[in-house]
Point group: C2
Chain length 451, copies 2
């Protein structure tokens, strides 16, 4: 991406010289993402100065590529009239996203300034709860009637091109807006011009409901290699499409969310750099404090064995090591399983098979780690200590692995999100069992002096 950095410096230099015309010319040919990126890096004042000089259609195209806070500041600098025109020029889904971010008073003054069609479209698109397919779809999809010829269909798509997100897929609907089939522009171009759309269209079309999680639309687009997926409402009427580029954004956001959840961080609203510190605090503190209280149980386990510890204070040497090992092995298993469930690689009925596999792997891991810790144990406390730590290691690693493997399935069955709770709960269980197993074995095998 050095090219963008270069473009950036050029723009800066030209702005210093107040040569705005050359800047506009320079940016005209670039991809909207690049123009947005360049403006994002400018100070607020020059940013708006430049943005204001671009033509409206360019403004509408670059805005969605800018950082959210910058989008808002650009829009809020415009007159109400200019805001309304800009929103009208934007794609329906991007318009809805931007509108939802605007302060309420701006929303209220803006709404009456929009034409009826845009107003209704906006109200509908913003009515779907966040995280659903409805909230990421666009209403601007191309349609063609079933009875016309391929040549006529291409002609119709020509005229729809400007206002639709894509004309590469055209939807064939009945009078109730129910989906009869789809034709692709490629299919229309290849077909003989006189062939009828109804003879060309594919009728088995994968679709998704407005209320489904947006991740489901992304998954179907990925699994079926689609350009776009049609979205239907409760009455099976077509109400929008989700396109491949939005699916990629959803897929990336989902992965980020799952990665954060795996480290006990709640769902962040957007860019980490832009998130308010108070929000960040809120998203992080919950599990941290819960785990403080959960660890009282670990402490409780230790308190049970204070006499053993007094007698063999050397046991404490291995405590962090054994707890950490159980937790690490458990976290590995649960992470593997949570991700495999999220990507659809593993489903509920695979549980027993995965459990058997995990017994073998967990046993092998436990044995290897037991050998490592036995060597250290022998060096620190002789034969008896080696026995205690090795035996503990095998048990805690195997049980940590099995818990780690099973918990995501259980949470999934209970319709709880495996990504949120698996890692911390597995670590907690591994900690407590690790402590109890360790001291129980130690009390049994080590001779208490003076006893």
């Amino acid at each position: 991406m050095t090219e963008v950095t270069e473009l950036q410096s050029e723009v800066r230099a030209l702005l210093e010289e107040e040569d705005i015309d050359t800047v506009v010319e320079l940016l005209n040919n670039r991809h909207p993402a690049e123009i947005g990126g360049v403006i994002d890096e400018l100070e607020a004042e020059s940013a708006f100065f430049l943005f204001d000089r671009l033509d409206r259609r360019t403004q509408a195209r670059i805005l969605p590529y800018m950082q959210e806070s910058h989008q808002l500041s650009m829009v809020q600098h415009l007159s109400r009239h200019a805001q309304a025109r800009l929103l009208t020029d934007m794609n329906a889904d991007e318009r809805a996203d931007l509108y939802q971010e605007l302060p309420e008073e701006v929303q209220e003054t803006l709404m009456p300034a929009l034409a009826k069609a845009e107003r209704e479209d906006l109200l509908r698109l913003t009515s779907y709860p966040e995280g659903t397919v409805g909230s990421v779809m666009t209403s601007e999809y191309a349609t063609v009637p079933a009875h016309i010829t391929a040549r006529q269909a291409i002609e119709r798509l020509r005229f729809q091109a400007l206002n639709k997100e894509t004309i590469y897929i055209a939807y064939v609907l009945d009078s109730d807006r129910r989906l009869l089939g789809i034709v692709t522009l490629s299919g229309l171009v290849v077909a003989s011009p006189q062939e009828a759309v109804e003879d060309l269209m594919q009728t088995e079309v994968v679709n998704v409901h407005t209320d489904a999680p947006s991740a489901e639309a992304a998954r179907l687009i990925a699994d079926y290699d689609l350009l776009a997926i049609p979205v239907v409402d409760d009455n099976e009427r077509m109400v929008g499409i989700v396109t491949h580029d939005d699916a990629m954004d959803v897929q990336e956001a989902e992965a980020t969310e799952d990665i954060h959840k795996g480290a006990t961080v709640g769902n962040l609203p957007g860019s980490l750099k832009e998130t308010a510190l108070t929000t960040l605090y809120q998203k992080r503190i919950l599990w941290l404090v819960l785990l403080v209280f959960a660890n009282v149980f670990s402490g409780g386990g230790i308190a049970l064995y204070e006499d053993t510890i007094q007698a063999h204070v050397g046991l404490v040497f291995f405590l962090p090591l054994l707890i950490a090992s159980a937790g690490n092995a458990g976290a590995q298993s649960s992470t593997l399983m949570v991700r495999a469930i999220a990507t659809g690689d593993v489903v509920s009925r695979d549980w027993l098979r995965m459990l058997f596999r995990e017994i073998s792997v967990g046993m092998l891991l436990g044995l290897t780690m037991a050998i490592a810790v036995a060597a250290i144990g022998f060096y620190r406390g002789g034969y008896e200590m080696a026995m205690v730590v090795a035996l503990t290691m095998i048990i805690v690693v195997l049980s940590g692995s099995l818990v780690g493997m099973s918990l995501p399935f259980v949470l999934n069955r209970l319709n709880l999100d495996p990504a949120t709770a698996s890692a911390p709960v597995v670590t907690f269980i591994a900690d407590v069992t690790g402590i109890l197993v360790y001291f129980a074995i130690a009390s049994a095998l080590l001779s208490v002096p003076g006893a």
Copy 2:
């Protein structure tokens, strides 16, 4: 996806009745991913029986959607001649992927059976190392000359449609195969038929080098909302494209890899369900054993303070709690940072700003958790104990957070992968500092009885 399960049962029932013709008819209209999914679930024998009855073009389309082990077993059941025809019918990139998975002896007998063009294409596509753009691109992209009209270009694309991955983007090359620009099918359809391609084409085209990581191509496709990105070699000659659907697969595989790395699991070759147990063991054991030895330092820290522990055995109660808290806070920070670096949200020059933000957040988190642990400390060991654990908590959570935030930047600077080492190293540092800080504060503040 209930529909696929239904299709599955229908197919099973029909196969029981040996009514293969109805099965083939039933599957004919379905998406290749669905057909592949249905065959994937059958027992090996019925799977091949059904696969063999499908026409060659369908076989070529569904194979890439099947599980890898099943793909191989289908292909290996075919005669050499049938194998060669099947590979010829497949898309270039999917053919290359399948070919690379075949056992060497099959590769050797197969290669001479392919036509020269396919053979050379295959050799070239399989020559790029895994993980590079070259290894995921396809060589089947559409081209048009610069000097022809839009109408002529559409006519040319009609004839290329069957053999190209997409005709929605056509590449305009000079005589050295250097990229002059691109035209979209939509642009050609909308344009006046007499307009020249060279006047219609976009000339500022984002491209990517064969040797770049495949994740870079996926990122550019996501950032620029592209249908496909052109791939160029060292001499700036165009050699292929990466399409949006392959980019989604790359993006998902990258996220999976990063999620696994975050839990100290190495890069798995594919499906978790399909991975051999020995591979799984190998990918998991490395960091687990490294961390056993790393934790000897934690034990060493404890050994330093054995007298303090003997005198105040109640201190051990809080040991897992404090270590875990430091580790949890550190893991949160490092996970947030690793992901933000991976998605491009945060870059190296943001480090100082992120550090300052983390000081505030870490301090707030530490204070909140200190209050929680002070209450438990007071209950267990009175005012002095509350002081010791609260003070320790603030220090370890803040330092854990700062280390967690900084380490990914440092690793990134050293050109090491932040995803691999951040989590375990942060946890290790948090463990050791947690122990040292805790017992140092305890030794200083608690009166040693009999001293």
